[in-house]
Every structure is written in C-alpha cells, then in structure tokens.
C-alpha cells in the first residue's frame, strides 16, 4: 500500500506536468496544428528575441526573483534571532497567518491604494499638511525598476517564510542552543544566528525556492505594482497568450520556456550565493567575536518586520474601508458615506461559489496531504531513496500557468474527460501537492529518529509509531502545510476556469471576473471574501494543536 504512494504521487504529477510541458515546448518550436502550424522552426524564438524591451523584461524578472527572497529571508532571520516574547513579537506571530491568507493580488491592490499619490496615506495628510487639493503627479507605483513591485512581494513573502520557520523551529530546540552559546558569552542575536540559523536554513530551503520561483514569475502583483514599459516577462507572456492573434501563441510558448530558464537561473544564482554566504558565516563564526553588531542586527530585524507587517495590515484596512465606502474623493481622509451596497450586490450569488470553493480546496488538500504523508512515511520506513522528483513538483510553479494549463486542457480533452468539479479538483492537486510537499518534507525527514527508535524498541508497530508518535509531533506542521495547500487551491483562477470550462464558479473565478471591471469597491469586497476561507484554515491550523495538546506543555510549543 505504502509503497505505491510515491508512484501514485509521481504519476499524478507527471501526467499533467509532462503533457503540460509538451504543449509548451512544441508550439515554442513552431508546432501547433490547432492554428494551422505544423512545421518545426525557430521562428517563435526569433520573434521573441526581437520583441521590444524583451531583455529588460527578462532582467526584471530575474532581479525580482533574487532580491525578493534575499530581503524577505534576511528580515525573517533577523527577527527570529531577536525574538524575545515581547508584546510586539507576539502580535507579529499572531498576525502572520491571517496576513498569509490575503491573496497576493488583493494585498498588492491594497498596497497600491495605500501608497499611490492619490492613495490613503496622501489623503490622510491632505490638504491640511501637504497642501494638496489634487493628487501630486508623483511616480511611485509601476516604477521602471520594479522597486514597488519587489517591496510588495517582500511584504507578502515575509509571513510565508516566517510561518515556515516557526513551524520548523520547535524541532531544533532553539532555546537550548541559544542558552549554550550565551553561556559562552555570545550576545543573544549572535547566539541565535550562529547556533540556530544554520540548522534552520536547510529546513526552509525548499519553501524558499518556491519564493524564488514565485517572485520571478508572478503575474498579478506585477500587473498591479510592477513596471509597464516594459512589463515583466511573465506579464508579457500572459498578454501574448491572451492576444486575439492566435499565432502569437507560438512566440508566447517560447516566452514561457524563457520564463522557466529565468526562474532556474535565479535558483542557480541563489545556490552560488548560498555557498558564498555559508563561507562568510563560517569565517564569521570562527572569528569568535561575541558582541559586535548585536544591537544593529536586532534593530534592523525588528524594523524590517514591523514595516512589512504594518504595510500589509494597512493594506487590509484600506481594502476594508473600500468595501464599505460610498463616494470617496481626494483629498477626503475617509469616504463621504458608508454603504452595504457593494456587499448586497455580490452576496446574493455567493452560495454556489463558496460551496464549490470549500469542496475543491478541502478535497484537493486532503488528497495532497495523504499522498505526501504516505510518500514521506514510505521513505522513512523502507529507507528507500528520497522522493527526488523535485523537478516535477517545481514545474507547475515554474511554467507560466497560462501555458501550462493549455496543455492540461488538451490532455483532459484527449482523454474525453468531461469538464467539471472533479477535473478541477484534480487540476488543483497539481498545484497544491507541491506546496504541501515543500512545507512538510524537510521537517518530516529531520524529525529526531530517536523518537521512532524508542517506540520501536518498546514493541510498537510501524503503523502505531506513525499514528502515535510521528503524526502527533508533526501535527502542527502538517496542519500548517494543509492550510497553505488550501490557500493555494482557493487562489487558483486559470485551472478552475479552463479545466471546469467556466462551469464551476468559485469565489476566485467570480472575484477575478468582477475585478476585470475595475471598481475598487467590488474588488475590495471579493478580496476580503477570498481571504476568509484560507484565514479560517490558518486559524484552525493553529487552534487544533493548542486544543488537542492543552494538557501537554512541551507539545504546545510545537504548535
């Protein structure tokens, strides 16, 4: 039974991934019979490289894919190093999950309204302090270097990395490590950075690669906050795929492959960087200095995370204001009136989308969790080689969705599977499984083997060990992974729309369709609705272990 798990997982991923890729690679070399092209050529590539501003688009994507994880990881590590159980620390830890539940596009949209020249902050100080009766003509959003976009991505990735780190930390017993280092005279932040960080890093490395892949290929955030002339590669690919001129799909497919190459390049750069930082770390550690920079590191971590969390929270606040706002003209600090109108017009059609969203996200997450747990358990039990199909898992994240999904639809149509909710669930699995696997695998593999040995030596069967030892200890991580899986599923638009032939309305398909109309109030309402289901998931993921282990103090820490 268990032995089949990795095979099932492999096939479930491999079928769609290989077919999805095939339908990207073939058109990239000129083969797409559906539009009457059946001769292989390099023309799509030549067209791609002669597209105006293509180098800059590609460079933007690469830089974003590196700068975002570097800043986000630095801030998260420094914050964790300085964590002291203060009120602020606890507040931030508590805000992590709800903030993670806000869809990227919604957070970006809120942020744009927060910092735009006509945005909330400008309205707060106008006209009294700034003297602005009309919005100043300042170039903040969509700046050509993509700085606003990267700032938006950093603020959104920080909660993700923080949650990953918090889920992994209890296993490392950071308290005792730090205590040991402190007894040798190291200041607290340095003690953490020297003893805990090197052990923590490998455990959040896979989620970090997901951040790199995401930041180098993100579409929605880049459209809202990113540069327009030229836009990032991912945005331009989407444009070519959406073009009424169907022959552009060939060049678009070549672009999709370039996108994969860019993301892989970002990962490769990261690996080089990793080696360099590792060396510096060892050198720094070996020097034995115990107090230098302690204060500066502490403060930069705190400031970084506070700014990020405040920006995100403020984005949610302005979204909420917009969801209830009547007319709201610049420079008024608040809307002239408040209204339920935006909610009334949407909630009448809410029942089916919400039911579908719940069914799809719960089912796909359950499938993903069972398969991933079984695969990891099989590894442990049979000592068989690790599930190394990482490329299978990363591919759905790396290949631009619009290209990838086209292949999936051709695949399901070839199999003459009727579009509908089951197909959508299967499609979601392709995107949910990778995240569940990445968030769970390292913690699972690095669980102290002595627990298992001890239980086995007391005569427990492998199954009993799994249910009584491994799963309870890893419950927090497994639930976090499920919550992330659910959030990923809830956020899927194209797989739902195309695999379901639009017949399976979810909260997200409704939200995206209505968002295309551009009314900020309507977008705000749906963004909040879209956040509710994942937020409930994250809250449950935190609450369940607390509830179950309320009488076991050491277990509570792992939650």
């Amino acid at each position: 039974m268990l032995r089949t798990a990795p095979v099932v997982l492999g096939i479930l991923m491999a079928g769609p991934v290989v077919l999805g890729l095939l339908l990207v690679i073939l058109p990239a070399f000129g083969y797409l019979p559906a539009v009457g092209r059946d001769e292989f050529s390099t023309l799509p590539w030549r067209e791609l490289f002669s597209a105006p501003g293509i180098q800059q688009s590609a460079l933007l994507s690469l830089v974003s894919g590196l700068v975002t994880p570097i800043i986000a990881l630095t801030i998260v590590m420094l914050f964790l190093a300085g964590i002291s159980g203060s009120k602020l620390d606890r507040l931030i830890r508590r805000l992590v999950s709800p903030l993670l539940a806000i869809p990227h596009a919604a957070a970006a949209f809120g942020l744009a309204f927060l910092i735009a020249p006509s945005g909330f902050l400008a309205r707060l100080v106008s006209p009294a302090l700034s003297g602005w009766q009309r919005p100043p003509d300042l170039f903040i959003i969509n700046d050509p270097l993509g700085l606003t976009m990267m700032a938006g991505l950093v603020t959104k990735e920080i909660p993700f990395l923080l949650l990953m780190a918090l889920a992994a930390l209890p296993q490392l017993d950071p308290g005792r490590r730090v205590m040991m280092a402190r007894s040798l005279g190291y200041r607290p932040v340095l003690a953490w950075l020297f003893t805990v960080a090197p052990a923590l890093y490998p455990m959040i490395r896979l989620p970090l690669f997901a951040v790199i892949a995401f930041a180098s290929s993100v579409v929605d955030v880049a459209i809202i906050l990113g540069p327009g002339l030229p836009a990032t590669l991912s945005v331009r690919i989407l444009g070519w795929f959406s073009d009424p001129d169907l022959s552009l799909r060939l060049m678009a497919s070549a672009g999709a492959i370039l996108q994969v190459i860019i993301s892989l390049t970002a990962v490769a750069c990261w690996l080089v960087l990793e080696k360099m930082v590792g060396r510096i770390w060892r050198y720094w550690t070996a020097r034995g200095q115990r107090r230098q920079f302690n204060g500066a590191l502490l403060i930069s971590g705190r400031v970084g995370i506070t700014v990020a969390v405040m920006l995100l929270s403020a984005s949610v606040v302005v979204l909420t204001i917009n969801a209830f706002a009547g007319p709201w003209r610049f420079p008024a600090s608040l809307p002239a009136s408040w209204t339920w109108q935006h909610w009334v017009s949407t909630t009448s059609t809410l029942a089916t989308p919400v039911a579908n969203t719940l069914l799809i996200s719960l089912t796909s997450t359950a499938i993903a969790l069972v398969l991933v747990l079984a695969t990891l358990e099989n590894e442990q039990r049979h000592g068989s080689s690790r599930f190394t199909a990482l490329w299978l898992l990363y591919m759905p994240m790396l290949v631009p969705q619009v290209a990838f999904i086209f292949g999936l639809v051709v695949f399901t149509e070839t199999m003459t599977w009727q579009p509908g909710i089951w197909l959508v669930i299967l499609g979601h699995c392709v995107f949910v499984i990778p995240y569940v696997f990445l968030t769970l695998s390292e913690t699972y593999r690095r669980l102290d083997p002595r627990w298992v040995h001890m239980a086995r030596s007391l005569g427990a069967s492998p199954n009993r060990v799994f249910w009584r030892i491994r799963l309870p200890i890893l419950l927090g991580t497994a639930l976090t992974a499920s919550a992330i899986g659910m959030a990923v599923s809830v956020g899927q638009f194209l797989p739902t729309q195309l695999l379901g032939a639009g017949r399976v309305p979810t909260v997200t398909t409704e939200a995206v369709a209505l968002a295309s109309g551009g009314s900020r109030n309507v977008i705000a309402v749906w963004a909040l609705l879209q956040s509710l289901i994942p937020a409930a998931g994250f809250i449950l993921a935190l609450a369940i272990p607390r509830l179950l282990w309320r009488k076991r103090r050491a277990m509570q820490e792992s939650a």
Partner: protein, 420 residues
Amino acid sequence: MPVICILTYLTRVASAARQHLAVLAGAVLTLAVAAPALAASAPKDWSQVLQQAQGQTVYFNAWGGEARTNAYINWAAEQLAREYGVTLQHVKLSDTSEAVSRVLAERQAGNADNGAIDLIWLNGENFAGMQSNDLLFGPWAEYLPNFQWVDADNNPDMRQDFTVAVNGYESPWLRAHLVFFYDTMLIEQPPGTIPELLTWARKYPGEFTYPRPPDFLGTTFLKQSLMELTVYSSALYSPVGDSHFDTVTEPLWRYLDQLHPLLLRRGRTFPASGAGMRRLMSDGETALAFSFSPSEAPIAVTNGELPETVRSYTLHGGTLANVSFLAIPFNAANKAGAMVVANFLLSPEAQHRAQDPDFLGGTSVLAVNSLSSEWQQRMRQTRRHPAAPSPDDLDRRLAEPHPSWIPALEQAWLKRYSQP
C-alpha cells in the same frame, strides 16, 4: 542540485512510466485536428431549431466584469427558461481569451462535436482570429427570425466586423462607441478633436493618460488618433500590408512624441487597462478619460465611483464605433440552444431593456424604423442618464480599421515607447 535531481528523475520517470506517457504523447502529437463542423444543417427551419433547443443548457461565455451586465444576462436566462425551455448559464470571463484558449485546446485534442462552450461574446480581432482558424460554426446568424430588425441592408456594420465579412458566423448584439468623459468641476472645455487634445493638454498638463497598448482600449486611442491625423485614412480599411506603414503612421508618432510629456506622470507610465484609467479619474488624478461603452460613465456615477459632475461626449469628427457579436464555436454541444439565445437577445424586448439606463444603458443594434410602431415608440422613449452621451453624439460613427492594423500599431508603439 535541483538540476541534477531533474536529470536523474527525468530518466527514472521515463523508464517507470514510459509506456503510459508514450501513448499520451503520441495521442497528442498525432491527433487529427478536428475539422470545422459544417455538417450541422443550416438552421433554415426555425421551428426545428426551437424543438432541438428544448431542454438544452447553453454555456454563454461572456465578460463578467460588470454587475449590471451580469444581471442583464440573468434576466435573459429567466425569460429563456420560461419561454423556450432553454437553460442559459453565464460563464463569467475576465478576458475573452479564456474562452478562445478552451476552444483551441478542444480543437487540438480532436473534440469535434462536444465542446464546452456554446456561445461567445466577441468582436473584431477575436472574431477575425477565430474565424481565420476555422474555430467558429456557421453560417447561422442571418437565419435568426429577429435578424430582420437590424436592417442589415442599410446598416453594413451588421455584416462587417472590423472590415472582415461576417458571413453569418456571428449575430449582432450591442453597439459600442468610443466615448470620452470628463469632470466638469475640473475642466471647462474638453478637447473636441485629437489635434485639440494636444493644445488642451498643454493647458491642463497631467490631466489625461491612456491605457498602454496592447490593451485594446489603448490601441483604440491610437487608431482614433491615426484616423484624425493621417491624410491616408482610407488606407486603414485595407490590410496593413497594402500600404506603406511608416508613411501612414508618421503623423501619429510625431503627435504622440509631443503629447506624452503632457500626460499623467509625463507619459513615463500608463495604466494597464481601461479600468485602471477610470480608477485614476475616480481618484482625482486625471480629469478626462474614455471608454468603449457609452454606459460606463453613467454606471460609475450611479455607483458613486465618479463624481456627479462627469459628462460624456464624442469627438466632433466622429469616433470609432463597432458592433459586438455573439458567435458559436465549431464544436459547441448545444448549437440550437445557442441560436435561440442569440435570437432572443436580438428581440425588441431584450434590446429595449439593454438600452434602458436602469438595466444596461447600452446602444441597441436594431434599426428602429424597421420595428412595429409600438416598439418604435418604446425604443424612442428610452430615458437618458445625465452622464450619458447624447444620441447625436452616438450618431457620429467612424468604422473600425482592418484588424491587421492593430498588431502593427501595437508593435510600433511598444518599440518606440517601451524602452526607457
């Protein structure tokens, strides 16, 4: 490391599942592409169509970005269920390309008669693209009983979509016009022509911008400008290859070079879409904007998104206007039902409601003179929202250029303005 993993696993998966994958890959590669379904008989006998349509569920893929349009389609669904026993399901799209992708994938997979999409709302480039790739079913549109009311013989735009002959492959639904709107609180006199826009922008720098091509509304602005600026405007009605592009478009680029520094953010960035342009106006960043829907400003005013001082108008020399159509994919599973829906949406009842500012506030495609005297009266009595353009405004129509100009203009624009 991951690269190595990729390679090792590639070989492993290949060996483990080689047969399975080979079959699938082979299936995809060698599939005979489905031929367009010409077999379905032309719907000359309408009663037979009605009979076939009974009990069918029609999946109508239409942009769902606006609550009123969605409500209107809902209303149509209620009527259709009651009168014809047809279930109309609105598949809400954020972009027509989602439907096109689906049809294309079905074609690629050889699905010739069980397609998931029955009716698409489209026009112009999307029609030309689907039609030239044989992705549409037809001809059917002129057999609809209600087609007579559009008086196509006197309204050639009912048979031509961006100069491309429709040939009965799509049925007209609504008219669209390029309409400008401005805030009377901020500016006294809006520009009446494209050349005037430049002098106007000198007086009001930073009060205007346009969506960046290849957004279709941004490209529409380029087309409108080109038509007013070039002396070769007749060349725009033939394929772009037939004329000397640089000569025809030279005045446009000279104009834009002057205009851009006077736009919002000095033309260094442009909104991504028409919706983004409207949001800038709603935030008070700009005072002038435009849309392809005459009802956009009235709806935004009603919702409180735009101030009540906003008014719409069209440029004095006329603005681009087109008709949006409904088309049936070549492999639609419920073609009869789709025709019944298209026919209903063309009925005086549906068109009258579409024109009513309380419901859709659009412009009907019907030729009012061809209707019965009762409907003539009712259509003529439709109220007008104060922020809507006047009927005279909407009568000044310029036909759309040949669709091949669109990518050419977009490419040229991107080449000139997308390098910082």
